[in-house]
Every structure is written in structure tokens, then in C-alpha cells.
């Protein structure tokens, strides 16, 4: 550790460099994804993509677009590495996201290339924190191949109602069943717990539903433990889109508005549970 002169240090020669006035924007997004310690990070001209996987059956992706930053430069088309997400979040949170009324902490990120750490510089009220987060070879991530299937049911709704449904899920039920159909009940979430079956239905005519497009009846079961990590981004979101394809894969897409009123997306994929019986 060396001491740096009072004047601003030059961070140059990097493959990637980004700067934002308010670290809370990116911190808020990453915090919702922290159900695992490790994450893959992809840096590209359009923005930053962070991927966290769960037991090879579920995956969360956060898209932080480049226009969220005041400055964003990248020399390569795409840079990928793996890092410790928990440590990254602790560093971003070092000043606690600023006190009410005071200036928010600013953030600078630099990545010089393969093998180099991700370097952060945060500043609030004259206090500066430097962080170096070690990077590793990226892990292979699943490709859910969602867009190639033709049949897809899709519902876009306001997040509040799904939030209620998910947070109230019976924890004694190992499985959660989701049904999406062009006919009644349209959208139904069911659990099968120790004390009974619970079902919640949301009709396509509900005020909460903004877009309803279901071509055929699809019903699938998912492990509750795999769906649980989606509750955090759901809580932070304004709207959520629920999609299911013919194979039964579930894709939840969360639209989140950051403190500086930028829109960011987080998507959450989940594999269905293999069923013996035919539903």
C-alpha cells in the first residue's frame, strides 16, 4: 500500500473505465443478486452484465447499462471474468451509500485486462477508498436458450401482487407450481405444504396485469429453494414479466428503477422439476 499525492490519481491505460456520481445505483442492483458469493462479470460497450448461478438449475443476470454511468469507456468488444460478488458489494457499500442529505459517494471502476484486479475508487466528502478485487477465470454459465422456442406464455404485471404471493409462499412446501393459461384461472401459484394446499390466482382482467399473452396451458413445478432468491430483485422492482416456454423453463424479468431514475433489468431463470406423472 503506498500513499498517493493529494492530486487526483490518474487511472489510465485501462481496457475498461467507468464513473458514476452515485454508487447506490449499482449497489442496489448487485445487492439483490447476492445469493451466492461468486459471480461472472461481462463488460461490453452496452454495459455490465453480472451473472450468478444457483446449483446449475437457476441463474440470475443483472444488466447495468452504460448510460447509467457519467463516463464509460471500453477498448475491447467483450471482457469476461469471475470475482467475489460479496466482496465487491462490501466495497461499494464502504460509505454506506451516503447519509441523508449529504453528497452521495462517487464511484470509479477500472479494469486493465486479463489477470488484473477490478479496481474501485469511491469518494465521499474528501474521504477516498481504494479497492482491488481479484479476478479469476470466468465460469461456464448455462444458456437457457429461451428465445429459440416458439411457444411462450407471457404475463407482465405490477410487482406488488407477485411480491405478496412469493413472500407468502408456504415454506413447508418443497415445490411451487405455476400455471399459465389462456383460459381461467389464467395465472395460478400453488404450494403443497404440511398443512394443506394453497393456491393464489391472478386473473387476466386484474388491474395488476398489464400484458397477457398465453397461447396454451402450461403448468410446471419448481423447487421453492430455487425460486426464493428471486424475491429480492422482485421486491426492488416496479414491474415483473413472467414467461414460461413449452419445456417448462421459467423466466422472470424484473424492471428496477434506480435512485437516479435509470431503468435496469434483472432476469431470473429457473429449471422445472422433473415430474414422473403427467399433469
Amino acid at each position: 500500500m503506498s500513499i498517493h499525492p493529494e492530486e487526483e490519481r490518474e487511472i489510465n491505460d485501462g481496457h475498461f473505465r467507468a464513473k458514476t456520481d452515485n454508487v447506490k445505483n449499482i449497489l442496489q442492483i448487485l445487492k439483490t443478486m447476492n445469493f451466492r458469493d461468486q459471480a461472472n462479470v461481462v463488460l461490453s460497450p452496452s454495459g455490465i452484465k453480472v451473472t450468478v448461478e444457483n446449483a446449475k438449475c437457476a441463474q440470475a443476470n443483472a444488466f447495468i447499462e452504460s448510460d447509467l454511468f457519467q463516463e464509460y469507456e471500453i477498448e475491447e468488444e467483450m471482457v469476461i471474468f469471475k470475482l467475489n460478488l460479496t466482496s465487491w458489494i462490501e466495497c461499494l457499500n464502504i460509505f454506506g451509500g451516503g447519509t441523508a442529505g449529504a453528497a452521495t459517494p462517487s464511484l470509479k471502476m477500472v479494469y486493465r485486462g486479463h489477470g488484473y484486479p477490478l479496481v474501485l475508487e469511491l469518494e465521499e466528502d474528501g474521504v477516498v477508498t481504494d479497492c482491488e478485487i481479484k479476478t479469476e477465470e470466468p465460469e461456464d454459465t448455462l444458456d437457457f436458450d429461451f428465445f429459440s422456442t416458439e411457444v411462450m406464455n407471457k404475463i407482465i404485471m405490477r410487482s406488488e401482487c407477485l411480491k405478496e404471493v412469493f413472500t407468502d409462499l408456504d415454506v413447508t412446501s418443497e415445490m411451487v407450481e405455476i400455471l399459465m393459461s389462456p383460459d381461467a384461472p389464467y395465472f395460478r401459484v400453488s404450494t403443497f405444504g404440511n398443512y394443506g394446499t394453497s393456491q393464489t390466482e391472478i386473473s387476466m382482467e386484474s388491474e395488476m396485469v398489464e400484458h397477457f399473452e398465453c397461447k396454451q396451458t402450461l403448468k410446471q413445478r419448481y423447487r421453492l429453494s430455487l425460486l426464493k432468491p428471486s424475491i429480492k430483485p422482485l421486491t426492488a422492482a416496479l414491474k415483473v414479466s413472467v414467461r414460461m416456454d413449452a419445456r417448462g423453463f421459467l423466466c422472470l424479468q424484473f424492471m428496477i428503477r434506480t435512485e437516479s431514475h435509470h431503468i435496469c433489468f434483472i432476469e431470473y431463470f429457473c429449471c422445472p422439476e422433473e415430474e414422473d406423472s403427467d399433469d
Partner: protein, 333 residues
């Protein structure tokens, strides 16, 4: 037999008020037992009374000091002189290198009346060992309803065993005042152990700096605690303080610049040293957090002295409380 030095008020307070005969009888039994005790141990007495208006916030302050003690160690020594109270946490010679704490309070500031007589004329002091979390539980009453406690009396008493008796008068719904009595067991220490609890010397530090507002410092240190168990504190003579941690996943350093420095009139030689050079010591984060968490006293200056690779010395002065905290460097530094 004349029992020198033991206040008559060491009899249980409620007994004197209710004049309950059977209770008085059992007290008499106790008294005769105590006579045996008093022959064996020195006749010590100490009593202080604080009234709410004067001692009110002061007692709150004392509560905070005791709260810090409770967080730091299981045992603490209270040294009582005619004018001052000293709280000492000191575990010399242990393998685990526990931090040392030395807190000094001016008794006159907190108590309107004080009576005291120590071991002898020559050594007019009392050393008591006690468990701070027992005392902090009692004093937490002040934290919650500061204005409500009208009167506090603390005295050294011999009940079943020596104890500090705290009598607090609280308001109640009826006309009669409610008196709450808490007894905290203490162990008087013999004179041959007193040398273990003497005032520590000011260490020969290489850097000395006023800490930035503790709230901010605390937040940064709490985040760093999640990354590593040791933290390095470094300072130079230009008013820069650096906190840093290292883990497998990340290295983090926080720089506080343009801090003020206390002027000490020692070491003329020190001015020859390079102003920019950082002097550092690595300490256990948990112990640093215990210190930072305790200080909600309000704006006060805390001086941080660093002895290269050996120790961090924190020195807090507020009103009539002086707190010194010695954090030894961890072996890995």
C-alpha cells in the same frame, strides 16, 4: 466491638424502613458473620451520592463507559481514590494479548457527596474486581429514563460477600418513592496485586493524529470487518490516516486526509522524520469495533497514537472522563 470504616448504611435499606422484625433478626445474624469477614479483610468504605440534576447526564456517561467495558472483557478492576475512579482492564502476560483499557473519572463531577477510606492512611485507595456486564445492566436504567431516576447512591457494602450496592430512587404511581437496590458482587484486591493496575505509561508513538468523526470511521470499519479479521491503521505527520484490510478476494484501503494532529511537547528528534512516511500497526478488527461502538458520547476528540508494528493507542477526552485504550498489534503484522 467497634467496626471501623463500615458505614451503618451498609445494612439493607429496606430493613431500616420497614422495621420488619424477622428480617431484622436475620440481619443481626448476618452482622455477626460480617464481623468475621471484616477481621480478615481490610476495613474499606466508599460511598457516593449523586442527585439527578447534577449527576444525571454524568451517570449516563458513566453508563456508556461501563457499557464499553462490558463489551471488552469479563473482568474489570475499579480503583477508587479520594478524588478519582479508575476502571482498568488489564490482562498482563496472557497469550491472547487482550487490549488494555484505562478509564479515569473525576468523582467530584458525578457525585455530590463522597465518603471514602481506603486500606490505610498511607495507601488510601481501594481496588475492586468485578464483572462489568453486571454493572452495565444496572446502569442501563439511566439510559432509558434519564430524568426519572431522582437519586443514586453507590456504596461498598458487605452483604453475603463484598458488593457494590446501588440504590436508585425512582418515581412511582403512589406517593411513596420507590427505591431499587442492586448489588453487584466485587472482590477487593489485596495490596500486593496493586502494582498490576498502575497507570500505563504513554507509549513512545511515532505518529499521532485526531481521528475523524467516529460515526464515519465505525461504518467503514464495520464493512471491513466482513472482509478480514485484522485491520491496519497507518498515519503520517501530514494528517493522513489510512485504514486497510486484505483478504483473498480483495484489498481495501480508506484514506482520511487533512486531519488535525495533536501537539505533544516531547521528542524534538521526531521533527527530522519524513512527514509523508506512514507508521502503521495491524490490530484485531473486533477489538477496534468494541471501542468505536462504545463511544456515542457525542462530539469529542479521540487521539490515535501509533507505535510502529507494536500498538495502537486511542486516547479520548470528554468532560471529566479520560479513556485510554491500548490495542496490541497482531502477530501477523
Amino acid at each position: 466491638m467497634v467496626r471501623r470504616g463500615v458505614l451503618p448504611a451498609s445494612l439493607c435499606g429496606c430493613c431500616r424502613e420497614t422495621r420488619d422484625a424477622s428480617h431484622y433478626f436475620s440481619e443481626r445474624m448476618e452482622e455477626s458473620r460480617r464481623e468475621d469477614l471484616s477481621r480478615r479483610s481490610p476495613a474499606l468504605c466508599w460511598g457516593g451520592e449523586a442527585c439527578a440534576t447534577r449527576g444525571g447526564e454524568g451517570t449516563g456517561l458513566k453508563q456508556i463507559v461501563i457499557g464499553s467495558l462490558a463489551r471488552l472483557a469479563k473482568l474489570c478492576v475499579l480503583r477508587i481514590t479520594r478524588t478519582h475512579l479508575y476502571f482498568i482492564i488489564n490482562e498482563p502476560g496472557t497469550v491472547h494479548r487482550a487490549p488494555g483499557l484505562w478509564a479515569e473519572l473525576d468523582q467530584g463531577h458525578y457525585f455530590s457527596t463522597v465518603t471514602m477510606s481506603g486500606v490505610s492512611e498511607e495507601h488510601n485507595e481501594i481496588f475492586l474486581e468485578f464483572e462489568p456486564d453486571k454493572l452495565s445492566g444496572t446502569l442501563s436504567v439511566f439510559k432509558s429514563n434519564n430524568a426519572a431516576v431522582r437519586n443514586l447512591k453507590i456504596k461498598l457494602a458487605k452483604k453475603l460477600s463484598p458488593c457494590l450496592t446501588l440504590e436508585m430512587q425512582m418515581p412511582s404511581f403512589s406517593e411513596h418513592a420507590r427505591t431499587v437496590v442492586h448489588d453487584v458482587p466485587v472482590l477487593p484486591l489485596p495490596r500486593r496485586q496493586w502494582h498490576l493496575y498502575q497507570e500505563p505509561e504513554m507509549p513512545h508513538f511515532t505518529a499521532s493524529i485526531y481521528l475523524p468523526p467516529l460515526k464515519k470511521l465505525r461504518h467503514v470499519v464495520e464493512r471491513m470487518k466482513n472482509l478480514s479479521s485484522s485491520l491496519t491503521l497507518a498515519a503520517n505527520r501530514k494528517g493522513t490516516l489510512v485504514l486497510s484490510v486484505t483478504s483473498d478476494a480483495a484489498n481495501v484501503s480508506t484514506y482520511f486526509r487533512n486531519l488535525t494532529m495533536p501537539t505533544w511537547d516531547l521528542e524534538g528528534a521526531a521533527s527530522q522524520m519524513d512527514e509523508e512516511q506512514l507508521h502503521s500497526a495491524t490490530v484485531e478488527i473486533k477489538k477496534l469495533i468494541s471501542f468505536l461502538a462504545g463511544e456515542q458520547i457525542g462530539p469529542c476528540k479521540v487521539i490515535c497514537n501509533i507505535v510502529d508494528d507494536r500498538m495502537v493507542h486511542l486516547f479520548l477526552l470528554h468532560d471529566d472522563v479520560i479513556l485510554q485504550y491500548f490495542l496490541p498489534a497482531t502477530r501477523s503484522s
